[in-house]
């Protein structure tokens, strides 16, 4: 089986190379015979990679420790659940998993676009295959997951206990689905450049892909935050770790892209900008992989093989320069007739939203690579931590938050004073009321507290803007049709999925902003070393440390559990059982925190340390409003679903507009 897995990887590589060359030759020479032949390759490549993946999964499930990779990331006692997930637990498997997803996407693209636009699609397929070739090359010649051990050991080393959490099954695939997905819009953008089809065709074809990838990337980030929150046991959900940044930066650039393509669709502007953004998004995903794989930047996620990172770096530069050159060559074709009219318009609010998103992305990027740069320039390593990111990104983030409210409401082209008044009077009133109402309730003074105050005011402003949009839509529908309020709301949303889905996503984003602000500003924590029976207080909770027990849960796992009683206002509130788990063969215990989550605040307990005399160090966090973030995440998911839902009405509308435009301005590329 392992031989088959190894062999199919080689076949996949050879087929991909052939397919890539054939697609390009077919497109250049208009040779339909070559095209038909090339068009068989995506499926073959996918099939080969799939077989290879199945072989690797088989090795995990069958405890085949003759494979070095299986030996390193699994053992006999590991749950089947985690054996399946161990596939992407390490370097080699995660690259194969990446390739599996990429080839799967490629096959879907192939079936979606078969026999459509023969001028663009062959190039798009060729670009996708180039990227597949890069990964297959690495897998075949640098990090082969089928590498053998001459004398197979009897048992494997097991999966790092930190990874033995259900999020391990959910988080990496989600993130990869997002990362990999951006390859598709990128491929179509490059294909559009090569084939000179520079209208917004490529954006229309890949809109769903962009949305789906954005969705997965966004969820991947949130899942990562939840995982860190429940598993790493430091009371937080985000540490501005290089690897977190690596997943965050493409999300920011992709968000900018999602917004600015609307301007191109509506106004035929910002063509170069959009091309650059999708290129940047894709490059960021490769850069992220470079960071995680190179070990160049210290991070909690570091993988072991350093050299691999440099392949990614080289690949990154090749892509970057090739695409920049291509954009420059096509610059004359990317000129737009239309121009921005006024600062007070939706177009310019989108432009500013883009600048701010890119600003956050750049600050994050700069902070991440600053140690390397300072060492290269000054010979001294200088690092920046969370204070840097907070100091820079929070003000930019707040400006962005304000734009979430302004952008969708302000008029296109040029807003007049009267429609500004009409649209923003009530939201501003709401913001004003919030500002007054919060004044006596919340603490002010420190930088964080002041920012949080501003954040809450802006949240109220934006929320009112969005809800008013729903209200306007609903009432006008109710006026023209006999419908109940709920019925009208549903109809309006369902008729304009893209628009209202977007608003729902914005509601989720506002909740996330509120959750971050609340938890960063008003959180508190305490550390106590206690003997059984001792009591302490935090924020109105009286906590008693009762006892410590050790439980041999399985033959490889020992759990040490502390029991604490929490009282509030004199009555029993919660029994907390934070624990530490010890795995045989792994020298690092894993903290299992215990969290009681309410909409107001989380009470978060960690058994930080203990001694043989049953005294224990307990760390307690009170984290306000953390659950708002997770709720916001689900709302984002819901909103994205709505705006992605297939919509016949929208399709027809777009098609009509497309035809009209085409007859009015025949673009040079269409001849």
């Amino acid at each position: 089986m392992n031989d088959i897995g190894e062999f199919t990887l080689l076949v996949a590589l050879a087929t991909a190379i052939y397919g890539c060359v054939a697609y390009v030759m077919a497109a250049r020479g208009n040779r339909i015979d070559l095209y038909l032949s090339a068009d068989k390759t995506p499926l073959i490549v996918w099939g080969c990679v799939m077989i290879s993946s199945i072989c690797l999964w088989r090795a995990f499930l069958a405890n085949d420790f003759s494979l070095q990779y299986v030996w390193a990331y699994s053992n006999i006692e590991l749950d089947t659940f985690y054996k399946i997930a161990s596939f992407w637990g390490g370097q080699k498997g995660s690259l194969l998993f990446w390739t599996l997803l990429l080839t799967t996407y490629t096959v879907v693209v192939h079936f979606q676009n078969r026999k459509k636009n023969l001028r663009v699609v062959p190039y798009a397929m060729a670009v996708l295959l180039v990227i597949i070739i890069f990964f297959l090359f690495l897998i075949n010649f640098s990090t082969n997951p089928f590498e053998r051990i001459p004398l197979p050991p009897e048992d494997g080393r097991g999966l790092n206990p930190l990874l033995q959490n259900y999020w391990m099954v959910i988080h990496p695939p989600t993130l990869y689905l997002g990362y990999v997905g951006f390859t598709v819009p990128f491929a179509f953008a490059v294909a559009a450049l090569i084939s000179k089809n520079l209208d917004d065709g490529w954006i229309r074809v890949t809109r769903k892909w962009t949305l789906i990838s954005w969705f997965f990337l966004c969820m991947g980030n949130l899942f990562g935050a939840s995982w860190a929150y429940v598993e790493l046991g430091w009371g937080g959900y985000w540490a501005w770790d290089p690897v977190e940044n690596a997943a965050f930066m493409p999300l920011l650039v992709a968000t900018a892209f999602l917004h600015s393509v609307m301007i191109q669709e509506k106004k035929d502007m910002m063509k170069v900008w959009n091309m650059s953004l999708i290129l940047l998004t894709f490059v960021m995903t490769i850069f992220g992989t470079f960071i995680t794989r190179s070990g160049l930047i210290q991070s909690v996620h570091t993988f072991d093989e350093a050299t691999l990172g440099y392949y990614f770096l080289a690949f990154l530069f090749v892509i970057l320069f090739a695409c920049m050159a291509l954009i420059i060559v096509r610059l004359p074709l990317l000129k737009s007739e239309n121009q921005l009219d006024s600062f007070l318009s939706r177009e310019s609010s989108f432009l500013f939203n883009n600048l701010l998103l890119l600003g956050i992305a750049f600050a994050t990027f700069w902070g991440t690579i600053f140690p390397i740069i300072s060492e290269a320039v000054r010979g001294i390593k200088i690092t920046v931590g969370p204070p840097f990111y907070n100091q820079v990104n929070v003000p930019i983030g707040l400006a962005l938050l304000a734009l979430i409210g302004i952008g969708p409401v302000i008029a296109w082209r040029r807003a007049t004073l009267s429609n500004l008044k009409k649209n923003f009077f009530r939201p501003l009133a709401a913001a004003f009321i919030t500002a007054i109402a919060l004044l006596p309730v919340i603490p002010l003074g420190s930088r964080v507290e002041n920012y949080t105050y501003i954040a809450f005011i802006l949240c109220a402003f934006v929320m009112t803007c969005i809800l008013l949009e729903f209200y306007k839509g609903t009432t006008s529908r109710m006026g023209s049709h006999e419908e109940s309020m709920l019925g009208a709301l549903t109809t309006v949303t369902w008729r304009n999925k893209r628009r209202y889905g977007g608003y729902i996503v914005h509601i989720g984003v506002v909740l996330i902003f509120a959750g971050i602000a609340g938890s960063q500003a008003y959180g508190t924590h305490i550390e106590k070393h206690l003997k059984p029976g001792e009591t302490f207080k935090i924020r109105g909770y009286d906590i008693t440390y009762e006892k410590l027990v050790a439980v041999e849960a399985t033959s490889v796992k020992t759990r040490v559990i502390a029991q604490l009683q929490v009282e509030r206002n004199g009555s029993h509130y919660w029994t907390a059982r934070p624990e530490k788990e010890f795995y045989k063969g792994q020298n690092q215990p894993v903290s299992e925190v215990d969290v009681l989550s309410t909409w107001k605040e989380d009470l978060y307990m960690i058994l930080a340390d203990f001694r043989e005399d049953e005294s224990a160090t307990i760390k307690v966090y009170v984290n306000p409003m953390v659950s708002w973030m997770w709720t916001g995440g689900w709302i984002i998911a819901f909103g994205t679903m709505i705006s992605m839902w297939p919509d016949r009405l929208e399709q027809r509308r777009r098609l009509e507009r497309f035809r009209r435009e085409e007859s009015l301005f025949p673009s040079p590329a269409q001849e």
Binding site: Q68, A72, I149, P152, P153, R157, N160, L162, V300, T302, D304, Q339, L340, F343, L351, F352, L356, G359, F362, A363, W366, F370, P371, I380, K381, I382, T383, V384, G385, P387, F388, Y389, Q391, V392, P395, I396, H529, L548, V549, A550, V551, E552, T558, V560, F582, K584, G585, Q586, N587, Q588, P589, S591, A608, D609, F610, E612, E614, S615, T617, K619
Partner: protein
């Protein structure tokens, strides 16, 4: 037309400038120098008082805890040529033990004692083990070597079942 273009250019430049200003200020206010113990102690300029990150290995037998306050810890970290005394208040990570590589963040006092506000142990040993495995045949890997004080500590507790 020209006029409008210039206005937008100026507007965008203002935003870009503001972001650039934030980044520059952020770097100068919050950055920390990152040294190993030898690098820090061989510097000609004194870094006392400024934010520092220092990497070194815990000196064997140097970990002392205040008998009245378990969370008050003193220890030393060393490299090849020099060692540095560290004072730390707080929970020590699970991996914190003699000989471990640690990174401390804080300030260097005039008395030469490093006052650490955070104490990090380097990456999970999974990866160290991997490096060692590369040197010898995995089949001969001695798992007892990976049994650590932490587990012994857990073994010392009374056992129950649930």
């Amino acid at each position: 037309m020209k006029h409008k273009k210039v206005r937008f250019l100026v507007g965008s430049l203002l935003i870009v400038g503001a972001i650039g200003y934030l980044i520059t200020m952020g770097i100068s206010n919050t950055s920390q120098y990152f040294f190993t113990v030898d690098e820090l102690l061989s510097q000609k300029v004194s870094y006392a008082g400024s934010g520092l990150k220092v990497k070194g290995n815990v000196v064997n037998g140097s970990i002392q805890r205040d008998p009245n306050d378990y969370l008050n810890v003193m220890f030393s970290i060393e490299e090849k040529e020099s060692s540095l005394k560290v004072a730390y208040q707080g929970v020590t990570p699970d991996m914190f033990a003699d000989g471990r590589e640690v990174v401390v963040e804080g300030t260097l006092g005039e008395d030469g004692v490093f006052h650490a506000s955070t104490l990090l142990t380097s990456c999970p040993s999974k990866y160290e083990a991997e490096k060692e495995a590369g040197k010898m045949h995995p089949g001969t890997l001695n798992t007892d070597k990976y049994k650590e004080p932490g587990l012994n500590k857990a073994d010392a507790l009374p056992k129950t079942t649930i």
